[in-house]
């Protein structure tokens, strides 16, 4: 069987827990997804839903002090075609993959760059490390990378320090840094959250272009549903450390089946406007500002999770069954949902 049939990254039952003063906390559990070559999977959820923990678990970058325990499997197809389980790989082999075949972009471009090294040196470090280029060749490569991410006057910029660059520029440098060794999987952890809206669009367009050119897979961690709709191929929605719904992007936006996903979509201003317009046509309240929908309640504390479905305390469709046990992620093919009342939700 050829490795082409395997997705580039297949995560099965990923579970991460941390030691805290209040005992061990299950931060992420039962996370499974797959990304094919050249595809983009968006991992969506609110703050604290476990998106970043998932991506850090895949990279093996949890701080030692948090005493993270990572379970499950993450099968990654290497460049040489061998399929390896990232989570069971010895540290030395894992380090050889990091920055080389799997790269990561962080949320904060302001602090992700070392302030005392020039951007050229930082990009060069990666290729010198993984491809063994010498100093001059690495610097030339760094300049090419800066040109690739559309930084004007790359020849001068390569010798500049991070504080001489704007936020958008720095995020471009971070992308250049991540792309330096032509990774086949890029994990982008909210790469545009800290940027202006106009710059966000440019950065996203740039990432889209690079992905098309290199055929890399992209795990896109975000809470911005607008971005997801435009750039992702498929979506996994996370809530309280678990995936509650995963679907191809069109399917999810056209017919969300988990109550939480529906709630999230209802929070979007565009959706709210649409709803108010429909109500306006029915003659009740014309010309009023559309009210944004909100999901009542708060995310359950991971220290005291609800007995069954984590979303049950906030859910309108809740029944006694919901509290009995955590519903399984059920469904066929790419479309899966973790809800006992998924059909009713669609109908409602």
């Amino acid at each position: 069987m050829s490795t082409d049939t395997f997705p580039r990254l297949e995560v099965r039952g990923l579970a991460t827990s941390f030691a805290t003063d209040g005992g061990r906390i299950q931060s992420v559990a039962d996370v499974s997804f797959a990304i094919r070559a050249g595809e983009t999977l968006a991992l969506v959820g609110e703050s604290g839903s476990g998106k970043s923990v998932t991506s850090l678990s895949l990279m093996g970058l949890h701080a030692k002090t948090s005493q993270a325990q990572v379970g499950g499997e993450a099968w990654f197809v290497r460049r040489d075609g061998v399929r390896v389980n990232l989570l069971a790989l010895p540290e030395a082999q894992r380090r050889a993959l990091r920055g080389n075949e799997i790269a990561m972009i962080f949320q904060e471009p302001m602090t992700s760059l070392n302030p005392v090294l020039t951007v050229g040196e930082q990009i060069a470090e990666s290729v010198r490390l993984h491809q063994g280029l010498d100093r001059t060749a690495a610097k030339a490569h760094a300049q090419r990378m800066l040109e690739l991410v559309e930084i004007p006057a790359a020849r001068q910029r390569v010798d500049e320090y991070p504080h001489q660059l704007s936020g958008g520029m720095r995020q471009r440098v971070m992308i250049a840094l991540a792309m330096a060794c032509q990774p086949t999987l890029l994990i982008a952890d909210e790469p545009t959250t800290a940027l202006d809206v106009t710059i966000q669009a440019q950065i996203l367009a740039l990432m889209g272009r690079l992905q098309k050119e290199t055929g890399m897979s992209l795990l896109f961690v975000t809470h911005n549903l607008g971005v997801v709709a435009q750039y992702a191929d498929s979506v996994a929605v996370m809530y309280a450390g678990r995936i509650v719904e995963s679907a191809p992007v069109h399917g999810l936006f056209a017919a969300p089946s988990h109550p939480y996903t529906r709630g999230l979509l209802a929070c979007l201003p565009g959706v709210a406007r649409q709803r108010s317009r429909q109500q306006g046509e029915s003659g009740t309240q014309g010309g009023r500002r559309p009210l944004l929908a909100a999901i009542p309640g708060q995310v359950a504390s991971p220290l005291a999770p609800p007995p069954g479905c984590a979303f049950a305390p906030r859910c309108a469709l809740r029944t006694d069954d919901c509290d009995a046990a955590m519903p399984p992620l059920s469904g066929e093919g790419a479309r899966r949902v973790r809800c006992l009342h998924a059909e009713e939700a669609v109908a409602a």
Partner: protein, 280 residues
């Protein structure tokens, strides 16, 4: 304008820093060059000329053994600067290593820092006296004792900075690039410590000159036959009421050198601080 010219221009934009640098350069230049030019012996005793006031032949007068005070100050500069410089370098090297390890590796933090705490619980000069009396009074042992006295200070400062640096995203980013831990320390943490360490270096340089003078004054420092500014002051103690110059001029040499070092350290700190850089 080349980058280094711009850096120097900014460093010397403050007159005090410029004056300090000029003075220090002068002291270092005289201390290094003079013994090459003149073979006058700073230890030459001339009883007939004892305790003479400053004059054309003896610019700073003579001490109770008739030795030329100016000559001894110039020669003493070599030893005082040597002790100060080597002590500062030694303390900074050891302290940076200790502080970086303690700050970066949580497991090493407690043992290393308790050691530092224990050493810092002694007053500087007392610990110095104790160490010198254990090791025996010699030029090298005084330096060794002072290195041990000042290492904890550097370790503290470096640990504090490392704790901050360790949590910064670029350390994670480096790890995400597959950089090994020792390379992260060397390439990403250490360069960011240059500014606090450099400031410590100049301050400890100044402190060490003062501490050597203090130890020598108390008679537990450098042996009296080696001319340092400290031994000169110690030796002139009995005659200082009759001949103020024997104690004034070495004292001034210490004050100006230590002050200049502090000022220069301040200037360097301002220069390296990225926050102040943005403001200007």
């Amino acid at each position: 304008m080349k980058p280094w010219q711009a850096v120097l221009l900014r460093l010397f934009s403050r007159k005090v820093v410029l004056a300090s640098a000029v003075l220090l350069t002068l002291v270092v230049a005289i201390a290094t060059v003079f013994p090459w030019v003149s073979d006058a012996d700073p230890g030459a005793i001339s009883i007939s000329e004892r305790l003479q006031a400053p004059s054309a032949t003896h610019w700073a007068g003579t001490d109770e053994l008739g030795r030329d005070v100016m000559l001894r100050i110039v020669h003493g500069a070599r030893y005082s600067l040597l002790i100060g410089g080597l002590t500062a370098a030694g303390a900074v090297l050891l302290g940076t290593l200790m502080g970086m390890l303690a700050g970066f590796f949580r497991r090493l933090d407690a043992p290393l820092m308790r050691l530092v705490d224990a050493m810092m619980s002694f007053p500087d000069i007392l610990l110095g006296i104790a160490l010198v009396s254990i090791l025996g009074a010699s030029l090298w042992n005084v330096m060794l004792a002072l290195v041990i006295v000042y290492t904890p200070r550097v370790a503290r400062v470096v640990r504090a900075s490392t704790l901050v640096l360790r949590e910064l995203l670029f350390v994670d980013a480096a790890r995400a690039l597959g950089v090994r831990t020792h390379l992260i320390l060397w390439r990403h943490v250490l360069p960011n410590l240059v500014s606090p360490v450099l400031v410590q270096l100049t301050f400890i340089f100044a402190y060490a000159i003062l501490a050597e003078a203090g130890l020598s004054f108390l008679g537990v420092g450098v042996p009296p036959d080696i001319p340092t500014w400290g031994t000169m002051i110690a030796g002139s103690l009995e005659s200082s009421d009759k001949a103020f110059w024997t104690i004034l001029y070495p004292g001034l040499a210490i004050v100006f050198t230590a002050l200049s070092l502090q000022m220069l350290g301040d200037g360097v700190r301002d220069l390296l601080d990225p926050k102040l850089k943005k403001a200007s």
